[in-house]
Amino acid sequence: MSYKAILLGILLLLALPAVSSAVTPLELFYHATASGTNFCNNTATKVKEALIIGFLLGDVAFESNNVMAIEDAQSNVIASLQQEEIFATSLTSGGFMYTRNDSLGNISAFAGTFQNDANTGVLTSFTGTVNLTFQNGCFETLTIKSGKQIIQ
């Protein structure tokens, strides 16, 4: 075996983790703005707030199973939803739906559209509507628009 073959083998081994992390990036978070109405304690309150939206698997457009976390600006989790459906409308866009029923009274549904990088599946932007109901009897309807990806 020549030294060239050995060097090639070493280079391939070193390249593997880089390739795998590029194919399946771990969780990614995005800044987002949300507007809608919060219903709680016999009052309906118009809300406009900053949110953080996280995806357990960052290559969202390529995943058939995923989790979306909706967090407030302080990273407190408001709801965590399971992906129900996703489809591409083109190489760089699609629609997706997430739901949650934890059997405790937290029942929610999100549906929306996204733009994605054709090579990585990472979302470049997304928007959608989420209806959230909570076990304490409060509920909320929000329109969400993503902002920049949070670099960690």
Partner: protein, 144 residues
């Protein structure tokens, strides 16, 4: 016990089924964002809604594309309800028919008169057994 009390009791018993089976129909504009067959379409159409039960009791909400309620979009159960004033309030309805089946959440506000809803508006997010899903904004008034 006087006969008047007995008659009153009988009348009350007879009234209970009438109250619980109360049914009100509504119609209005439905603004759809429909996700189906790898396409996202926006469309507007008249939707028909039926509320079963009194407002302050367990109520179901059926949303259909026709006044005969043959083409049903969703049937949801009331989850939460409260008044924001003497003639207005807010409610949420949910549907969870199990894995790979229909699932949806409707949240909205209503106007009422004597505990009867006269009009309401809200947003439905619903996924169907075939994998298609909708966001529907509804504005409805009572059918006379």
């Amino acid at each position: 016990m006087s006969y008047k009390a007995i008659i009153l009791g009988l009348l009350l018993i007879l009234c209970v089924p009438a109250v619980s089976s109360a049914q009100s129909d509504y119609s209005g504009q439905g603004s759809y964002q429909a996700f189906i067959n790898s396409t996202v379409k926006k469309l507007k159409q008249i939707v028909y809604l039926r509320m079963n039960g009194a407002l302050d009791l367990a109520t179901s909400l059926t949303i259909a594309n026709d006044p005969q309620f043959n083409d049903v979009v969703a049937t949801l159960q009331m989850k939460d309800y409260f008044d924001t004033s003497a003639s207005a309030g807010a409610f949420s309805f949910v549907q969870d028919d199990g894995p790979n089946s229909n699932f949806g959440v409707f949240i909205g506000t209503f106007k009422s008169k004597a505990d009867v809803i006269t009009s309401f508006t809200g947003t439905l997010t619903e996924i169907f057994a075939d994998g298609s899903f909708d966001i529907v904004t509804i504005k409805a008034k009572a059918l006379k």
